[in-house]
């Protein structure tokens, strides 16, 4: 449409009058309308059309006191709930052309899906293979520890524990990369109290069992009182897969007085820790990147560096927690107590009688000497004070004494 040299087209002018023009154009239209006679005439004509059209009024309906019966009935039929479609509608729709197309397409897709699922599910019918796979995964997950070697003796404690933990960390890092564990992570614990007649043999047996199963001795304490049986208290760390076998062997070493077993699932703890660790690592990367690529004020750079230090501290702490957690899962903890059966022995003379006499004599001599020394020390320390007070109190005491004696003599003479 030609605008005949007008900055605003006639259609736009109409849209402006209808309130349908964008603000920018509406401003232009208003400005143009002020001085363009032709457009003013058009605007007037458009307004007149609207006025004339408004002249066609429709008679008003009679005010309805209530809704028509049909609507009332429809409302009662549908009290705000989805309207039930007719029962036959579901089947009828199948006989329409669109229904047939949908049904056919749906059937083909369902068939293809079933075929695909069956082909994918085939390995599930080989239980032994699946079981082996699961076992392998469990072992990967829960045994981030060194395999038992010939030099890994139970008595060889602290140094090799550290080595073991270090080696375990490497694998735990690989677990971190593999993502979320697919099997539950259980930290197993057990308590075992044995009584044995042959204490030394049992102790050697414990060490032998630890060595054979690739475990290590976390802590050990032997108590041997003179008038009681010896006691061995030890914390054994046994690889989780070997736990059952080791426990069975330990129980054979003596009479079981007390036994307890427990397991704490730490999967969630582990996954949570892993997620937090990854987040912190990402944060560290981003901060390092910021430090590398962006330049800023010295104060800002220092702030970023401080933040990096903080995040690194957190990462190290979480890594340590994760190692500890992995170790708890990989190695079951068995708190073992081995008690020796004590038998009291009959002896002709009590042990160390001569020594006891000699000790008594020495004690007596020592007591005499100590007493003399104490008296000497008292005299030396309290003597000067006593002399001073004696000098001060001598004359008053003497005067008082004499007076008392005189009073006592006076009644005797008067009575005479």
């Amino acid at each position: 449409m030609s605008n005949g040299g007008h900055p605003i087209e006639h259609e736009e002018l109409m849209a402006y009058l209808d309130g349908e023009l964008a603000t920018e154009r509406a401003v232009e239209a208003a400005a143009h309308l002020e001085h363009c006679r032709e457009c003013q005439e058009l605007a007037a004509a458009l307004r007149k059309i609207s006025q004339e059209m408004a002249g066609w009024e429709v008679e008003r309906l009679e005010p309805a006191d209530e809704m028509p019966i049909a609507i009332k009935a429809a409302l009662q039929d549908r009290p705000g709930k989805p309207r039930k479609t007719g029962k036959s509608l579901g089947w009828k729709i199948l006989f329409t052309r669109r229904g047939l197309v949908w049904a056919g397409g749906g059937t083909i897709i369902a068939f293809l899906l079933m075929t695909f699922s069956v082909s994918r599910l085939k390995p599930a019918f080989a239980p032994s293979a699946l079981r082996l796979e699961q076992v392998r995964r469990v072992e990967q997950l829960v045994a981030p520890t060194p395999q038992p070697s010939s030099g890994y003796a139970a008595s060889d404690t602290l140094g090799k524990i550290k080595d073991g933990a270090e080696a375990g960390d490497d694998e735990s890092d690989s677990n971190e990369r593999t993502g979320v564990p697919t099997v539950p992570m259980i930290a197993r614990t057990a308590g075992l109290t044995l009584t044995t007649k042959e204490f030394d043999k049992t102790r050697a047996g414990v060490e032998e069992i630890l060595k054979r199963h690739g475990g290590y001795l976390g802590e050990m304490k032997v108590n041997a009182p003179a008038d009681a049986g010896r006691t061995l208290t030890a914390t054994l760390r046994i690889p989780a897969p070997q736990f059952e076998a080791a426990m069975a062997e330990l129980k054979k070493l003596g009479r079981v007085e007390d036994e307890s077993q427990g397991g704490e699932e730490v999967t969630r703890q582990y996954v949570d820790l892993q997620a937090r660790l990854q987040n912190s690592k990402h944060t560290e990367q981003r901060l390092t990147e910021i430090l590398r690529t962006r330049t800023g004020k010295l104060q800002e750079v220092l702030k970023v560096e401080l933040e990096i230090d903080r995040v690194r501290g957190e990462i190290e702490q979480m890594q340590a927690e994760k190692k500890e957690l992995s170790k708890r899962v990989a190695f079951a903890t068995v708190n073992t107590t081995v008690k020796e059966e004590y038998r009291a022995k009959l002896e002709a003379a009590p042990p160390s009688t001569a020594s006891r006499f000699r000790n008594a004599a020495v004690d007596g001599y020592n007591t005499v000497v100590e007493g003399l020394i104490d008296v000497g020390l008292f005299v030396l320390s309290a003597g000067p004070s006593l002399l001073l007070w004696a000098a001060i109190l001598f004359f008053p005491a003497r005067w008082a004494w004499k007076k008392l004696r005189r009073k006592a003599e006076e009644p005797e003479t008067s009575s005479v």
Binding site: E11, D18, W56
Partner: protein, 198 residues
């Protein structure tokens, strides 16, 4: 005041009061919609009622992204199309001259109605939706499934054509010559858009 859309959602959740409010708001406008487009007053009332019944039946499918006003007039347009199909199948369309006095229309109203009838049906609908139902360009475009620019250009064309038909000179001529005047006006209406585009 609660918006139409909020009322519709309330009604969707089962509020009868919400529907009553919607009914009160739209009873007259919907009746006017049908009344201006159909010759029979009774059919206009029936179809307005039908619109509400359709709303009750389909309320579960209502989604708040559509304006209630557009939604209602969409239903009304469908009912109107069905009614027109029925009328054209059973009997010839009602000639406006047949019952002008029965409708109780004033001379001015009759003149406007006659002028509107001379317009192209598509353009007339756009004009009527704009002037009588007070819909904006976007709502008309949505209802008629047309681009907004097309709505605007057709609206302009129809207004220009109507301006011609409502010319007082023609009014006098129309009153004297009846149908002949309408025919000549129709010729001008077809010629007018070309004039505008020059």
């Amino acid at each position: 005041m609660i918006s139409d859309e909020a009322l519709m959602l309330e009604f969707q959740r089962g509020s009868r009061e919400a529907f009553e409010e919607l009914f009160a708001r739209y009873r007259e406008p919907l009746y006017g919609f049908f009344r201006r487009r159909l010759a029979s007053k009774n059919r206009a009332e029936d179809l307005a009622q039908e619109t509400f019944l359709a709303v009750i039946r389909a309320v579960v499918r209502y989604e708040p992204r559509a304006m209630v006003r557009t939604y209602l007039y969409g239903i009304a347009l469908k009912l109107l199309a069905a009614e027109r199909r029925k009328l054209s199948g059973n009997e010839p369309p009602l000639e406006p001259e047949h019952e002008p006095q029965e409708n109780g229309l004033s001379e001015e109203a009759l003149w406007v109605r006659q002028a509107l009838e001379k317009l192209d049906p598509g353009e007339r609908e756009i004009l009527m939706l704009r002037e009588y139902e007070q819909l904006n360009y976007a709502e008309i475009a949505e209802l008629l499934r047309l681009p907004v620019n097309t709505v605007r250009s057709r609206l302009f064309r129809s207004r220009m054509a109507l301006k011609n038909f409502l010319d007082p000179k023609k009014k006098l001529h129309g009153a004297a010559a009846g149908g002949a005047g309408r025919d000549s006006a129709r010729d001008e209406s077809t010629a007018r858009p070309t004039d505008d585009e020059e």
